[in-house]
Symmetry: C2
Subunit: 203 residues, 2 copies
């Protein structure tokens, strides 16, 4: 930091940097949802956002760091869109149903232009070991663990018994992922079918 | 065709061309299962196979034609590995179970180095309209239709009733796709969980 910079000026600059970083990461997630994380390029992102390539390079350093930032930005967007609103509902079957409603909304009115970011990037990176895959895997594992917890609460109320929460979480995730794929392929029936199966499971 | 070429020579040359084409398309499918169809390049494939770039270009013309040939080659490999052996079983629940066994084998002992080609390429192309996506979508639709037919035969025997064959096909496809993803991400529990759910559905 330059010695001539006062503390409030530094704070402002840091805050501005953090905002820029967040908005670039979010735009990177939008692009990656369509083109894939591998297709991300600092150059293209710079043109797309009308800012300098060196500005992005200064904030992120490497392409891998940009990819990881995109994954984390998508994770935040999913939490905001799907998880946070459902958390205002009481734990148990009510919250689980609210989660499903929000998750289906996230698919039918996509948060990202290329549909569910998680589904797209897991398929892209599942055979590419490395840091990006680890971050994607961790996000997916966290989501399945969270989902299983909500299922456990519903089981405590006497619902969804006879199966492990992990098996129900796996099944819900499989169905919603397939619904997202069908929707992105232009087939509305996937969402209708998945919705009916999920409603049956949570009846 | 050169006038100096005799008919048997022409036949041999055509047969050789068809074999080359098939083996190049199959290698392209192997590579695409890991790197994606977008990552395919005629140049890289030429280095990989130790043949000339112009040789591949002559056989396929464009990158898109090579991508489509890879999709068709993967489709043939899936038919050979999963569908054909199950067709020797009597139609109905027995054949449906044989199909599931073969499909799980295709996931746990992957036909392609990057796991299920269909799962990987649907996710890659679902937001990229065009000829390649159309061919991928058609292959997926054919598979779901075939699966629904087998479920219908099982229903005719008195099994799996109370749901449409299309809904059961969607669910099986969702579960096996999720099992493939988990397996590729290094998590064996996905296959075990999916297997138990499928066994329950087909009990």
């Amino acid at each position: 930091m330059a010695e001539s910079t006062s503390a409030p000026e530094q704070d402002q600059r840091l805050a501005k940097g953090a905002r820029s970083r967040a908005s670039i990461a979010r735009r990177a997630a939008d692009l990656a949802s369509v083109e894939g994380l591998t297709g991300l390029s600092i150059g293209r992102l710079a043109i797309d956002l009308g800012i300098s390539k060196s500005g992005i390079a200064t904030l992120f350093g490497t392409k891998e760091a940009l990819q990881v930032a995109a994954v984390k930005s998508a994770r935040e967007a999913f939490i905001e869109r799907v998880i946070a609103p459902a958390m205002t509902e009481p734990g148990g079957l009510t919250r689980l149903r609210a989660l499903m409603d929000r998750w289906f909304d996230h698919i039918t009115d996509p948060t990202f232009p290329g549909g569910c970011f998680r589904v797209a990037t897991i398929a892209e990176f599942d055979s590419k070991p490395g840091h990006v895959r680890d971050v994607i895997a961790e996000d997916h594992a966290d989501w399945l663990t969270f989902l299983a917890e909500q299922i456990r609460h519903a089981q405590d109320e006497g619902h969804l018994n006879g199966r492990t929460p992990e098996a129900v979480a796996f099944e819900l995730d499989a169905l919603l992922s397939a619904a997202n794929t069908a929707q992105q392929m232009g087939d509305d029936r996937g969402v209708t079918t998945a919705r009916a199966i999920v409603d049956g499971l949570l009846a």
